[in-house]
Point group: D2
Chain length 320, copies 4
Amino acid sequence: MEVLVLIFINKGDAKMDKLLERLVKENEYLVQYGKVADYIPALKSANPNDIGICIMDIEGNLYSSGDYEKKFTIQSISKVLSLMIAIVDKGEEKVFKKVGMEPTDESFNSLYKLDLPYGDKPSNPMINSGAILTTSLINGKGEEKFNRFLEIIRKITQDDNINYNEEVFLSEKRTGDKNRSIAYLLKNKNLIEEDVENILDAYFKQCSIEVNCIDLAKIGIFLANKCKIPNTEEVLCNEEIGTLVTALMTTCGMYNFSGEYAVKVGIPSKSGVAGGILGVVPGRFGIGVYGPALDKHGNSIAGYGMLKGLSKELGLSIFN
Amino acid sequence: MEVLVLIFINKGDAKMDKLLERLVKENEYLVQYGKVADYIPALKSANPNDIGICIMDIEGNLYSSGDYEKKFTIQSISKVLSLMIAIVDKGEEKVFKKVGMEPTDESFNSLYKLDLPYGDKPSNPMINSGAILTTSLINGKGEEKFNRFLEIIRKITQDDNINYNEEVFLSEKRTGDKNRSIAYLLKNKNLIEEDVENILDAYFKQCSIEVNCIDLAKIGIFLANKCKIPNTEEVLCNEEIGTLVTALMTTCGMYNFSGEYAVKVGIPSKSGVAGGILGVVPGRFGIGVYGPALDKHGNSIAGYGMLKGLSKELGLSIFN
Amino acid sequence: MEVLVLIFINKGDAKMDKLLERLVKENEYLVQYGKVADYIPALKSANPNDIGICIMDIEGNLYSSGDYEKKFTIQSISKVLSLMIAIVDKGEEKVFKKVGMEPTDESFNSLYKLDLPYGDKPSNPMINSGAILTTSLINGKGEEKFNRFLEIIRKITQDDNINYNEEVFLSEKRTGDKNRSIAYLLKNKNLIEEDVENILDAYFKQCSIEVNCIDLAKIGIFLANKCKIPNTEEVLCNEEIGTLVTALMTTCGMYNFSGEYAVKVGIPSKSGVAGGILGVVPGRFGIGVYGPALDKHGNSIAGYGMLKGLSKELGLSIFN
Amino acid sequence: MEVLVLIFINKGDAKMDKLLERLVKENEYLVQYGKVADYIPALKSANPNDIGICIMDIEGNLYSSGDYEKKFTIQSISKVLSLMIAIVDKGEEKVFKKVGMEPTDESFNSLYKLDLPYGDKPSNPMINSGAILTTSLINGKGEEKFNRFLEIIRKITQDDNINYNEEVFLSEKRTGDKNRSIAYLLKNKNLIEEDVENILDAYFKQCSIEVNCIDLAKIGIFLANKCKIPNTEEVLCNEEIGTLVTALMTTCGMYNFSGEYAVKVGIPSKSGVAGGILGVVPGRFGIGVYGPALDKHGNSIAGYGMLKGLSKELGLSIFN
C-alpha cells in the first residue's frame, strides 16, 4: 500500500501545510468552551488560547501550524510509552497477567472496580491504575525506571534535550493522593512489588516530561510505522507491539470519550490533561496536537476539533 | 485506494480459496475447547464441530470454506443492524440521547450500571440493554418493527427467504427474564415508551433470524463499502452510518473480549451466541464465520481462530 | 419485667394522652419541610398537613392524638407482615435461603447488587426486592397469597373491614415498572418461581391496604408482645418470629436512614411512602404514626419528629 | 428499672458463674470449625482452642469462665472507642459530617463505595475507612492521638498496665497496604487532613492494644451504664454518646453478619479479628468474650456461640 501513500504525499506537501493552517483557524474559537486543568498550579498557568498541530508522514516529512513548538507536559500520553517499554522489558504475557486489555467505563483515576470482590487487575493500561502498573514493570529499580523511560522517549524523538519539569513533578507528587491510594491497592493485591513511593516517583516524573507537537508527531509515526525510529532504519522493537499499543489507544485512549471519539474521528489517539493529543494513522501519519483548554472529558477541546477536521478532510478514519 | 485493492484481488482469487480452506483445517481442532450455548434447547442442539467461513470482496466475489452454508440464528449480530436501522429511522442525535457510545466492562446482559444513581442510559448499543433500546427506536408499532428489520436484512443479503426461527424465538421469549428485567428498567427510566412485551417480541425475533456465513459476508461488505447493497449500485443509507457502526463494533462488539480482540485480530467484528461472527474490513472485505462451540467470553472459539489467522495472513488489522 | 411496666402505665394514663397531644403540637410545624409522595396520583392527593399518633400498651390500652383515625395505604410497612407470613408458611430456613438478613446502603428499590456477579439474593426483606420475594413465599397461588395476607392483618387488627384501595393498587400496577424489573430479575435468578405478574399483583395489593394509626399500633403491640393478638390470649405464631422481625426493622426498616434513626430514636420501626410509621417497643408498646409529608429519605417528617420526642420523653430507646 | 435488675442479680450470682461455665463447655467444640486470622504472624500464633468469657453487671460484680484472663489484641473493637473519643473531642456534628451512620453491605476493609461518583464519606465508623477517620479526629498530633486513646481505655478499665503490642503494631504497619490505600483515598477526598502515616500509626497502635475479657466487660458496662467508669461515680462523657455507640454497634458492629447477629443474639456487639467480642446489654451488663478461631465473617466462632446462648438463657435480646 506504500506506493499509493507515497503518491498522495508527493502531490500533497503544500496542500498539507495549508490544511493545517486552516484547521487551526477553524478550531481556535473552541478554546472559549474549554477549561485549563487546575489541580496543580503548574498546569493552571497554561495559556488557554494556545493551539498547535504537527504531522509527520512515514517519509519523515513534517507539517505544522500554530503553537506546535510550545512545550507542555506529556501527562497521560506517557501511558502509551510505559506500556510499550513494559512489554519490551517483561514480555506481553507477563504484562497482561497484571493488567487487562479491556476498555472500561470507569473514569481514568477510578479504583473501585479493583476493590470489588472479583476485581483482579486494572482493566487496561490507559487508566491510571493500569499505567502505574506498567511503569512498575519497566526494568530497573528506583531512579532507573524513569531513566529508561527518558532514554526511550529521547531515542524516538531523537532529541536528548527532552526532560521532565521538576516543578510539575513535585506538584504531582505533593497532590497525588489518589494515585497513591491506587498504588497501595495494587500493592495490597500483590500486583506491584517494589516500594510504592519509588514507583510513583517514576510515574509522576514520566507524566511531567515536557514535549511539543513535533515530539508527539514523532512518537506517532514511530507507532504508525512498525516501531521504526523516525528518519532512521532502526527498529526499536517488534512491530506487533506498535499494533497492540495502537489498538489499545483506540479502545481506551480518550478517557470516557473513547467510543464516541472512534466514531467521530477514527484515528487511534491518546490525550493528556495538559492538552496534548497523540494520533496514529497506521502506515501513514503521526500526529501531535496541543491546546490546554479541555472539554468535560479531559481532552483538548480544540485538539479534538482539529483531529476531527483532519480525519474528515483526508479520510483518515480507520473505520472507513 | 480501490485500484490497489482490485489488483490484490485479481491476483488473489485462487489463493484466497486455498487460504480459507487452510484456515478451516488449522482451526477445527479448537472446537473441543469450546462449548455450545445451552440456555435454550434450540441452541443446544447445534453441532459443536461445525466450522465455516465466507468472504466477500467489494467487487462482489465470494470465497468460502467449511460449513459456510449452514444456517444458524443471528443472535447478537442483529444488534449491528438494529442500531443502523434506528439511526436511519430516528437520526443519530435522537438515538444517542438514549444510548451511549462508550465501551463498558459490564457483561453483555448486565443492567447494574443503569441502576446506579448516575446511570442514565445503556453504555452502548452492543450490549442487550442498548440493543433493546435501538430496537425500540425502529419505526413502526408492534409487528411492524420486526417486519422493517426483516425487510432490511433481506435487502442487504438480497435473499427474500431469510426469516426467523419460530422455535428459537419462542424459547428466547419464554426464558428471556433477564431481558425482560432490562426492558422494564429502561421503561422505568423513560428510555422506552412502547409496550415492553411488543419490543421484546421484536427483539427476540430479530435475534432468531437464521443466516449463514454468506449472509454475514454480505452484511459485512455492505458496511465495508459505504452501505452499498452488494452487487448493486444502490446505497441503503448514508455511508457515515456504516463508519459509525464499524467503529462501535470495534470498541464494543466482542463482549468483554473486545479490547483483546482488537489487539489480536484488528478486524471490526460482532459475535453472536449461536456461533456466528460478522467481520468488516473497511473498503475491502465482508466476512462471515460460523462455529457454535464458544469460548468463555461467548465468542465462537474456532471463528476467533480463523479470523486471527486471516488477519495475520492478509495483514487486515486496521491497526497496522 | 411486666410488673414494672404495668406500674408505669397505671400511673401514666392521663399523662400519656397529654404527651401525645403535645407531641402532635410540637411537630406539626415540620410538615412544611416535607413533601407528599407524588409518583402516583392517589398518593399525591394526601393532605400534607395531616399528623396523627396512636399507641397501644400490652394491656391493650389505647392512647392517641391528631389525625390518628385517618386512613392511608400501608405501603412498605406491609413488608413487615409479608416477612412474618412467609416465615410462618415456609419456615425461617427456606425464607432466608432466598433473602438475606443484612442491612444495605442500597436504596429501597435498588436492584444493582443483585446483578453483580456475586449478587445471589436480596440483602434483606425490607427493601423491595426482598419483599417481593417474601410475598412470593406466602402460601397460595394467584389471589390466594393476597387473601392470606388480608386475613392475617384483619386478625391482628381485629378489624374485618380492612381492605385494599383499588385505585392505589391499579396505579401501583400501572407505574410499577421498577418493581417489575426487580421481579423479573428475581425470576431470572430462580429466586421466584410463580408467574411474575401474579406475585406483583399480590405485592401491589398488600401495599395498597388502607390502615390508620390505630391499626399500626395494634400491629406494633402484636410484635412487641410475643405475637399475641391484641386484647386476646391468642398467639398467632412463634414469638421468635416477632423478635426476628423487630430486629430486622431496627437494622433495615427506615430506608437509608435506618442507622441514624436507631441512634436518634432507638425504637424498631418501619416506614411507608404514604406517610405511616410502625413502631415496636419490645415488651411495652405498639406505635402508629401518620404524616404524609416525607423527608428526603422517604420517611414521614412529622412522624419521625414525634417518635424522636416520644422516645426521649419515655426513655424508649432500646439502646439505653 | 434498676430495682428490678438489682433483684435479678442478687439472686443470680452463683447461677451466673455456673451459666458461664456451662456456656464455655457447650461451645468449645465450635473452635474446630473456625480459623485463626493469619494475615500477620503475631495473630497466627494464637491458640485456636482458647475460649473465655467475662461479664460485669452495673453493680460492678464480675462473673467469668475459661480463658478470660488471656490477653489478645483489641483490633476492630477499638473502633468503638475511637468513635467515642472523636465525638468527645470534636462533637457529634463535626464527626458525622465526615462519616455516616448507615450500615453497609461493604466488607469491613472495602473502599469502593467511597470511590463511586456519589461516595462522599465512609458509610459508618465500624468499617476501616470510618474508623481511620474517627482516629484522625481524636485530639492531638502524631503520638498524641494514640496517647489520648490509651489514656481513655486505661481510665475505663482502671488499669494502667494496658498497652499496645509492639510486634503486632509493626506487623500491621508493614502489611497495612489496604488501610494505607483507604487513608490516601480519604486524604484525596479532603476527609482527613493530617499526615496519613501519622494517622495510620495511631490507628495500627490502637488496634494492637492488648486486653482480656475482663477489660472488654468493663468497656461494655461503661457503655451500658451511661458512660460511668465502672466501680466509680465518675461519668466520662455525656450518656447520649454511649447510646449512639451502642446503636451503631447493633447496626454495624459484626461485619457483614450484623443483621443476622441482631436476629440471633440481639446484644449490641463489636468483634475484632484477634477473636474478641465486646457486648453491651443496655442498663444491665458489659460482656467480653474471647476465642481466636474465627468464622467466615471474621467473628469469633465460639464467642458467637456463647453470646447466642447467653442471650437465650437470660433473655438479653434488646428485641424482645
